[in-house]
Symmetry: C2
Subunit: 287 residues, 2 copies
């Protein structure tokens, strides 16, 4: 790979704005025009150095002399075409920037925190508190909320059995992409059946799927009834509602259990810290 990729842009002002250091003076640019003063531009140059360091350690097998990808180098044999599911003649395309590089950039490890539990058990509360705590510590996370995804990607799905399974499969696949992007992805959805959750776990390397079970009793969840859904279910206005007329299968071997202490449900910050401790102890909070 050509080393020119890591030189500053030709335009000096742009280079300064992008945080490159002036190698003649060795000093760190404090703030270029228009550059956010809340961020130390030295970070950028460190980032660029880190990137160069990473590239330096790569053999660049998949790159041609002009930086082409493998699929576009004249004379290189055509990539293997395959059929996957219903798609025919497709080829996997590997980019030279992978999960490892993105993790170095973010100084964290991409993973999926899968929060499962009854409606009203506090899944979204934990997801938000966790996202907030991680942000305060400088880590990038993203919440995939079951209901929110039904406003977009999964708006074609209803709540019948096969659509619920497809809902979970798609969220699992998207979570996998986010983890691959280096992001700490927090998926928050009832996901009542063990087989659907296990299918998501099976998509990923074992250790990066972190299942969090909200072990809060149906009585507590129903007494909260934050969305008024239990009431509707008890009145028969919603059919197949988890905990009322559909089953919830608790995980058998999840990574984290959130449960009441002395009959008291833990507050959001405490739940979040429990998960963050797990992430810290298992090396997710560094590259």
């Amino acid at each position: 790979m050509s080393s020119i990729q890591f030189l500053p842009p030709a335009n000096y002002t742009v280079a300064v704005e992008l945080g490159f250091r002036d190698s003649r003076s060795k000093r760190c640019w404090s703030a270029g025009a228009g550059f956010s003063k809340r961020w130390c531009p030295r970070m950028r140059s460190i980032r660029a150095e880190t990137a160069a360091e990473t590239f330096g350690s790569r053999k660049g097998e998949s790159l041609g002399p002009n930086g082409e990808c493998d699929c576009d180098i004249p004379g290189r044999s055509a990539p293997a075409l395959s059929n996957v599911g219903n798609s025919t003649n497709i080829a996997w395309h590997e980019c030279p920037i992978g999960k490892l590089e993105r993790q170095i950039l973010l100084n964290q490890k991409g993973c999926v925190i899968w929060i499962t539990g009854l409606s009203g058990s506090g899944k979204s509360t934990l997801a938000c508190a966790l996202s907030r705590e991680l942000y305060a510590l400088g880590y990038l996370s993203y919440v995939l909320d079951g209901d929110n995804i039904r406003h977009g990607l999964n708006k074609d799905l209803c709540f019948k059995a096969e659509d619920r399974a497809e809902n979970i499969r798609r969220i699992g696949e998207v979570a996998k992409l986010f983890a691959d992007a280096g992001v700490i992805c927090i998926a928050s959805l009832i996901s009542p059946y063990r087989r659907d959750r296990d299918a998501c776990r099976a998509m990923l390397p074992e250790s990066i799927f972190i299942e969090v079970y909200m072990d809060i009793s149906l009585e507590v969840c129903e007494s909260r009834d934050a969305k008024g859904l239990y009431k509707l279910a008890r009145e028969g206005k919603i059919k197949g509602f988890t905990g009322v007329d559909d089953t919830y299968e608790p995980p058998l071997n999840c990574e984290i259990v959130i449960a009441p202490t002395d009959g008291e449900c833990p507050p959001p910050g405490t739940m979040a810290k429990q998960v963050i401790s797990y992430l810290h102890e298992n090396g997710f909070l560094k590259a």
Copy 2:
């Protein structure tokens, strides 16, 4: 919102590892045990300060006194339930950490770079070169490659007309999530029909959908035939192949056109720099 969210963890060693500064000595911890030395821990403390600063400017409307989310605060009225597509009784859940905060963390703006063009026009090559250049400059991007997504999220779809449209819709929705996460999302897929691309554009705020048209002639693409697909299509072994027996509709008003100069196709680095210039000029490379 309680300010306790921004205090270092109780465990001093953990706090140091997470990059908090010791306020007594005002010095910057150079590297805690196990902390990557390639990254300056000061970044973490800057990040934490930035986060606190951001939160300080928020009114915390959606948070209870103990940091609960709006849906879980006793006495707070239930959120509005709605029907979206085929999903009934769902509620949008807003997290206190939004796109703005993630953009501050990453010092970039989330957006979607949608690369469209014939098979063999260099879409994947540009996507990878761009991802590499952005990484070298310290920016986080993620490539959604049409073929790769057919290995996972879209493996249930084939190449018939409605499935191609659904393939593009789903990738558009996922790209929207990545942009919301603050990531520079690079979608690379033929996406031959204007209406499908415009539908993805319509999902997003206008200015963050950046359509890149690979204006490379069919003759050039077919002469490359990197995947051997044109040959199969000419032999009638693939039906409905774009450019052979299905149409490609060039964009009418795209943001960037990649085209040959003096009959020469631009090399990957040059194409990537053209896109990066656009990102820079339009403020995407800062928060």
